[in-house]
Amino acid sequence: MVTHKVPDLPTCLEEKHSLGESSTSCKEELNTNDTKMSKVSEVVTKADIKPKSMHRAKIWSDDVENLYRFQQAGYRDEVEYKQVKQVDEVECWPETGFVKKLQRRDNTFYYYNRQRECEDKDVPKVKVYVY
């Protein structure tokens, strides 16, 4: 999958993340209002995350292939897709790990093949964002 440098999250958000993933006893203590507020704050904070720089890919790799598929669907990368579509996971092929299905901004669906789709001539067109 796509790997990129994620900026250090503020500690409060980290605590809220850890609370969200913690054991059931912690979850029972939280009110539903608190969880909703944490999700809203997560969304707001993630929307603020923007890449610092961009460069073009030179050699094909699995990450470049997935970036190609996201950019074909009109997104920068997996981060923006999850931010726009409010999903936790992207549907991928289990054998190869490539992206299988994406929903575009106009709510139509793009389906991708199991095998590589990004040809060598398209590799320099793929944008790699650094956060």
């Binding site: 074909q72 139509t108 669906f109 389906y111 093949n113």
Partner: protein
């Protein structure tokens, strides 16, 4: 006078070779015309397909994208929620098309449906035979190449599909038998159509080999019955 006079010879020749006059037969440069060509590999004209009618009516859940992506169609509905009994035979019917955008949407639509169909494909196989047969019967080279690639994808798309196709070999294989010899012997030259997967002879051989691999025990004998010149690959 001799019985081999001009009049007797003329009668004999015209009775035996009604299409050739006696003077033509007797002249040194005469060539007897053979039978007319049967046209087995001559392309037939395509009829208007149901795929074109449904596409123009807007019944398909596909959207046209004009943003520069050349080989993708956008689906308005998730493929997993589509009724394969309705849509898959329609898209297969579009394989007969040769004009843009019908040919592109049919080919790409079939590819997407087979790629993501899973176990929904097997019950629909009997309904796909007539569209496949119609596409092959056109004898159009481009349609043949596309249809053969689609058949190859169909065989490997889901389990038991290869075995489900065995009873329908008598519908599909006669056309493959006609075009099986269309391969080019260039010696040590490079056959670029083979590289681009447009060599019909090679495509037919690949398809038959897939039929044999995925068709089960009875596949080879059925293929051999329809195409006696086929050799086993297993």
């Amino acid at each position: 006078s001799s019985i081999f006079n001009k009049r007797n010879v003329q009668r004999i020749v015209e009775s035996s070779y009604p299409r050739c006059t006696a003077m033509e037969f007797l002249s040194e440069q005469s060539v007897v015309r053979g039978p007319p060509p049967a046209g087995s590999i001559k392309p037939r004209p395509a009829k208007r397909t149901a795929f074109r009618k449904f596409y123009e009516r807007g019944d398909f859940p596909i959207a046209v994208q004009h943003d520069g992506v050349a080989n993708k169609i956008a689906w308005k509905v998730e493929i997993e929620n589509l009724d394969y009994h309705y849509f898959l035979p329609l898209f297969f019917d579009g394989l007969c098309e040769t004009e843009f955008p019908y040919e592109f949407f049919a080919r790409q639509g079939v590819h997407d449906l087979l790629e993501h169909g899973g176990n929904k494909i097997l019950p629909v196989v009997p309904q796909l035979i007539i569209p496949i047969k119609n596409a092959l019967n056109l004898r159009n080279r481009q349609v043949l190449c596309t249809t053969l690639k689609v058949i190859q994808h169909l065989v490997v798309s889901a389990e038991m599909v290869g075995e489900a196709l065995v009873p329908y070999y008598r519908q599909i294989l006669p056309i493959l038998s006609i075009f099986k010899h269309m391969d080019v012997n260039l010696g040590d030259g490079i056959e670029y159509s083979q590289q681009k997967r447009e060599n019909i002879g090679v495509l037919i051989r690949e398809t038959l080999e897939l039929f044999e691999r995925y068709g089960g025990e009875n596949a080879y004998i059925n293929i051999k019955y329809m195409i006696p010149t086929y050799g086993s690959c297993m």
